[in-house]
């Protein structure tokens, strides 16, 4: 379906695993560690403004860009998230309905879906393209397709990062809950000399019989995240896998990638 592209950088943040290397080595932080993301890609002012999810995005973007040796000033960043800053929205609703307090302008401005991508562009002084998208459990596939569209039209490299905060339990009483997760890949045109893998995003279909690459062995809380597919992709590339990998865990429309390891 899509054009073959190279993956040249990876980033990952899971509470307990602050980066992709820690996950690959199964080097989990001690249970008493605060396990909070640092927001490495942000400057000090915008790190304070960013939500926990925003900071996790910042960590993944910094890690993936460093690995791919691309710069933050010119490289487009696509942020995918299913529910975005829903916790900020809940905070606003609580203030509005429960406490009947005036709304905080500071919270309101970072409650928009593109808060993280906006803060990143400010921190990295990137005056070019950036976007934020959402497609529920298909967000990883959508983020990759948006990136592939950019590459096909002449962009040299693009960061695709997917993240969601822990599910808002009060709103999702009947649905599976998930924990915060963020994962990123840097895509470049096929044949990039520093490729870790090549991939194509294939048409979606519900049957999963052709999937040959196993998803990551995440704890259930991460596996339920709408962004689990992007973390599975990072994990599969780290393991040097080739084959067909699902970009969702059965809750989406069934997008998959065909992966060729370059390691």
């Amino acid at each position: 379906m899509s054009i073959r592209v190279a993956v040249t950088g990876l980033g990952l943040f899971l509470p307990g695993y602050p980066n992709a290397t820690a996950w690959a080595e199964k080097n989990e932080l001690p249970a008493d560690d605060p396990r909070k993301p640092g927001g490495l890609a942000f400057d000090r002012v915008n790190r304070r403004r960013a939500s926990q999810m925003g900071r996790a995005i910042g960590d993944c973007v910094a890690e993936a860009m460093a690995a791919a040796e691309v710069d933050g000033v010119t490289t487009p960043v696509i942020v995918g998230s299913s529910i975005g800053e829903a916790n900020a929205m809940l905070d606003l609703l609580d203030k509005m309905w429960r406490e009947q307090e005036p709304m905080s302008p500071a919270v309101f401005t970072v409650s928009v879906h593109n808060a993280a991508s906006g803060l990143l562009s400010i921190s990295m002084k990137n005056k070019g393209y950036t976007t934020s998208i959402a497609a529920d459990y298909d967000t990883p596939a959508a983020t990759l397709l948006e990136g592939i569209g950019l590459l096909a039209n002449g962009t040299d490299a693009v960061v695709c990062v997917c993240a969601d905060e822990a599910s808002p339990r009060s709103l999702l009483e009947q649905a599976p809950n998930w924990d915060m997760l963020s994962a990123a890949v840097v895509l470049q045109p096929a044949g990039a000399t520093n490729a870790l893998a090549h991939l194509t995003v294939d048409d979606c279909r519900k049957d999963r019989d052709d999937l040959t690459v196993a998803p990551a062995s995440f704890a259930e809380g991460f596996a339920q995240s709408p962004q689990a597919g992007m973390a599975d992709l990072v994990d599969a590339i780290q393991r040097g896998e080739s084959g067909v990998l699902g970009l969702d865990r059965g809750n989406g429309r069934g997008y998959r990638v065909t992966l060729e390891s370059a390691q």
Partner: protein, 387 residues
């Protein structure tokens, strides 16, 4: 860039539903702004949609929100070109690329109020089917039978503008042949309270580029467009500029540097010069900062003679829908040969050094730049052209 063919488009706003109601209001300088239908403890005008929205089919009842019903109304208006597109392209090659800022926040805030007051959500409230960005995508897929890639862009007030750029790239990359693009947003208390907290709301109907302007009027509505690889284009998207201010999360760059770059990029993508532009549909929110920065940017990129109108004085600022709605108004200017008068109380700000026509202007308009700027310093400029 290769131009994007727009083969159909639809509009829904405080001015009404469909082409004729919008043309009547725009030609006659008749605003749709009025009192807020949402109870508030402060004064502001809003652009509320007052037309009856269609019900969803019975089997889609769980998805039935105001936003989803707006989507159904907008789809009905492009039914004919969409039918032709479905005959021409396979369903998996027709994408659904929409933009929204608030998604289902209007539904959630009502449900959450019940939760706060009574300890539980309404029985029929369903976060995943009524709130998430994907909920409306499901509705549009179901109503159209289009099964291509589908996602929501959510970059606040540029959201629906981004969808044209994505569609253009994906057609060019041969991932799709056609797409339903555009965007939609509904009024909600949280948005109104939020902009009020920023002291960004005008107490009366907004007055873009006027000396006495003092803020935004929030509106609701949407616009969808069908874009295709080939077909009978009503208008073209000849150039697109997408930039970031990299300056401030909620304030525009004072000199409009990001806005200038977006307009220049749109011109460059189309291979056109400033003198080729006949009209600007300005972002023109009515805030002091935005209008000053944008006027400065327009002056530096296009000069002072190009007529600029902000149609937000008619519809209010429809947030994630604004870029698509204003692309539709730009298309009307080209197809119908008129520019709506810039309306709003008070005299034009003498410090706004661009041409703001306050009377209906008729003539031939071949190329219109439509600007949209957003929280996060996100900027999109669409160059809409006659085919």
């Amino acid at each position: 860039m290769r131009p994007l063919l727009v083969t159909g488009y639809s509009m829904l706003s405080a001015l009404g539903m469909g082409r004729q109601q919008h043309l009547d209001a725009l030609k006659n300088g008749k605003t749709g702004l009025g009192p807020s239908p949402i109870p508030l403890d402060f004064d502001t005008a809003t652009g509320a949609v007052r037309v009856d929205l269609p019900e969803l089919p019975t089997h889609m009842e769980a998805w039935s929100t105001r936003l989803a019903r707006m989507a159904a109304a907008l789809l009905a208006e492009i039914d004919e070109p969409l039918r032709r597109a479905r005959e021409k392209w396979r369903p998996e090659r027709i994408a659904i690329l929409l933009g929204t800022s608030t998604a289902g926040a209007e539904t959630t805030e009502v449900a959450y109020k019940d939760y706060v007051e009574g300890g539980k959500f309404p029985r029929d409230y369903d976060f995943q089917r009524q709130h998430t960005f994907g909920a409306v995508l499901t509705v549009v897929r179901e109503l159209t039978g289009c099964t291509g890639p589908s996602w929501m862009a959510s970059t606040a007030c540029t959201s629906s503008g981004k969808t044209f750029a994505t569609a253009q790239r994906m057609i060019e990359a041969d991932i799709i042949d056609a797409a339903i693009v555009g965007g939609l947003d509904t009024l909600c208390t949280m948005t109104l309270q939020g902009f009020n907290s920023l002291q960004a709301l005008d107490r009366v109907a907004c007055r873009p580029f006027r000396k006495t302007r003092s803020g935004i009027s929030i509106g609701e509505g949407g616009a969808f467009a069908l874009v295709e690889r080939k077909g009978d284009a009503r208008v073209l998207i000849e150039g697109i500029g997408e930039t970031s201010d990299a300056y401030h999360i909620s304030a525009p760059h004072p000199e409009g540097l990001g806005a200038q770059a977006a307009m220049r990029d749109a011109l460059a993508a189309a291979g056109k010069k400033p003198e080729n532009i006949d009209h600007v549909n300005a972002h023109g929110t009515g805030t002091t900062l935005n209008d000053t920065a944008e006027a400065n940017a327009i002056k530096l990129v296009l000069g002072t003679d190009v007529p600029c109108v902000s149609t937000k004085a008619y519809t209010g600022h429809t947030l994630g829908a604004a870029a698509a709605l204003e692309m539709a108004f730009s298309s009307c200017a080209i197809e119908e040969g008129f520019l709506p008068p810039a309306i709003g109380d008070g005299e034009i700000d003498p410090k706004i050094d661009v041409c703001i026509p306050t009377e209906l202007t008729t003539g031939t308009f071949n190329r219109v730049l439509s600007n949209s700027f957003a929280f996060g310093g996100n900027n999109v400029s669409l160059l809409v052209s006659a085919p």
